[in-house]
């Protein structure tokens, strides 16, 4: 027995956080994303309305009054981009949360119970993975809005739902893979011996062990959700005007490419910088959760 003081105990969360901020670019990316969120949340502080038209001041180049210029109807582009950010970021976040939730449910059931349930669910997952997603998104985007259901009249809801409905397969596969390994572990056997129900084992014992990989794949998912939403709105089948989103602003900019070639720069740049920040955060999280690195640090 030695009297050397034991190292201060550290929680998993603390280790992960410290390791995350060691990745300098990930730290910067968090800051950038925060700025982008604040930028959109405080869109109301901008004195220009995103929808107010001013035909006498159309196609203004970026200047002191209209920092990002004005579009063909004389609307202030900066204001439109700030309001558009609300929609783009909210759609990205909500559809990711929904898709991860769906994916965890399918993956956990499939990986934990196995057997016919597993093979059925995985067959369906494969079918969805073979889908050329964007084609189906366009069909869904075009047709769901014409349904009579009240909630579907709102194109933002439609876009969130359809993006989630066509992207849950990746988290499902990931979670299934993790469950296949974890369900054989001793702590699961122990819990079962103590009379733990399947639900309890899944939610309280196995799921917490999957948090790292799920978070990492969640960032990837969110980056691609933002790109998908913008792309869909860009093609005209996503969020409908007059609600601005980065994708639809880009789409109107394309029509004015000869008169005002600069118009397309800002909305696309916002998508780009957001996606890049999220990708870097994902990279940082991956490093932070890497179990090998954590062990070697002891």
């Amino acid at each position: 027995m030695s009297d050397a003081p034991l190292p201060r105990e550290q929680s998993m969360g603390r280790i992960v956080l410290r390791r995350f901020f060691k990745h300098k670019l990930a730290g910067i990316a968090i800051g950038v994303l925060l700025v982008l969120v604040l930028f959109s949340v405080f869109a109301g502080l901008n004195s220009y309305s995103p929808t107010e038209q001013n035909p006498t001041n159309s196609f203004a180049k970026p200047n002191a009054a209209n920092w990002f210029g004005t579009d063909e109807l004389g609307r202030d582009v900066l204001s439109r981009i700030m309001y558009g950010g609300r929609v783009s970021l909210a759609v990205g976040l909500l559809s990711t949360v929904l898709s991860i939730f769906l994916g965890i449910t399918v993956g956990a059931l499939s990986g934990y119970f196995g057997g016919w349930l597993d093979s059925t669910l995985m067959r369906v997952t494969d079918a969805f993975l073979t889908f050329p997603t964007i084609f189906v998104l366009i069909i869904l985007g075009a047709f769901l809005r014409e349904q009579q259901l009240f909630i579907l009249q709102n194109s933002i809801f439609v876009v969130i739902i359809i993006i989630a409905a066509l992207s849950w397969m990746w988290p499902a596969r990931l979670v299934r893979g993790l469950f296949l390994v974890l369900r054989e572990k001793e702590f699961v056997t122990a819990s079962r011996a103590l009379g733990g129900s399947n639900f309890r084992i899944i939610v309280q014992h196995i799921l917490p062990n999957c948090v790292g990989p799920i978070l990492v794949s969640g960032t990837l998912q969110m980056a691609s959700a933002i790109i998908t939403e913008s792309g869909l709105s860009y093609l005209g089948f996503g969020v409908q005007p007059p609600t601005p989103t980065w994708g639809s602003i880009l789409s109107t900019a394309q029509n004015q490419i000869f008169r005002a070639p600069w118009l397309g720069f800002f909305p696309g740049f916002m998508i780009f910088i957001t996606v890049m920040a999220i990708n870097y955060i994902g990279d940082g999280l991956r490093d932070a959760f890497d179990p090998y690195v954590i062990h070697s640090e002891k």
Partner: protein, 324 residues
Amino acid sequence: MQTYALRRILQTIPILFIISILLFFLVRSAPGGPLTAARRNPNISKEQIEVLEEKLGLNDPLPVQYGRWLGDMFNGNLGESIKFRRPVSEMIGERIPNTLLLVGVAFLITLMVAIPIGILSARKPYSLFDYTMTTVTFIGQSIPVYWLGLGLIVVFYVALKNPFTGEPLFPVGGMNARGKEGELLDTIWHLVLPVTALSLGWIAWYSRFLRSSMLDVLHEDYVRTARAKGLKDNVVYYKHALRNAILPLVTLIALDLPSLFAGALFVETIFSWPGMGRLFWDAAKGRDYPVLLGVVMITAVLIIVCNILADLAYGWLDPQVKYE
């Protein structure tokens, strides 16, 4: 090997079946139906619409319609476009070579650029080249393909002009200039911008993946053995390591196929490239149901065929894989 390919094909049939059911009911349950445009047209009377409905079998129960559509599809009949009054299979047939040309060229260029970048980065990890490439690939991965395409048009079509003729530096729109239909050189000229837009993101993604895959392989015993035997560096990297590092890439490409076609859809739309993606976009705007269904089904079949090819390529690259 042959029986394996056959089994893979048989396995995909239920998948295609599920896809077709989902899509068919989705598209047909939309209000208005295929005759929306005709109903809005004041020149077409109610009676004429009823005749049309009867003729197209739109009054039958949905499962009956589905059965008929499926039967037709097995005979290669994808129906008739509502807008153009032409067989869908003919319309798609015209577009498939164009899409395959665009995607194929972009893909070849991707591999030709991404593989060397991946290898060089892995040869000297954390060097200046590696850091630069990592940053560049992060940028490439985050650029939305539609923004990139738009940017290329602004720079190379709107802003920069050919100093001799005063025409735009690169052509945009279609596969050929007017009067030069079918000329190969002109088509290549038209391919430059769309292929650039399409391949940049893929180059970023695959070079990064190959880098990490190479780094994994370089720690293996057989690489050390090869080095210990005194083999030249180039032989170790390109013969021993690359062949193993490239295996996971094949799987990744197979998984990525749907998103490769998605990228093509955006690029075709932006550059008016007469491929299946552009056809689909036009059909979606006009609610041309038979065309929409046809394109999705054909794309799904294409993706499944490519998947099987990727599987077979995997077996060819890795002798350990046995198709039993």
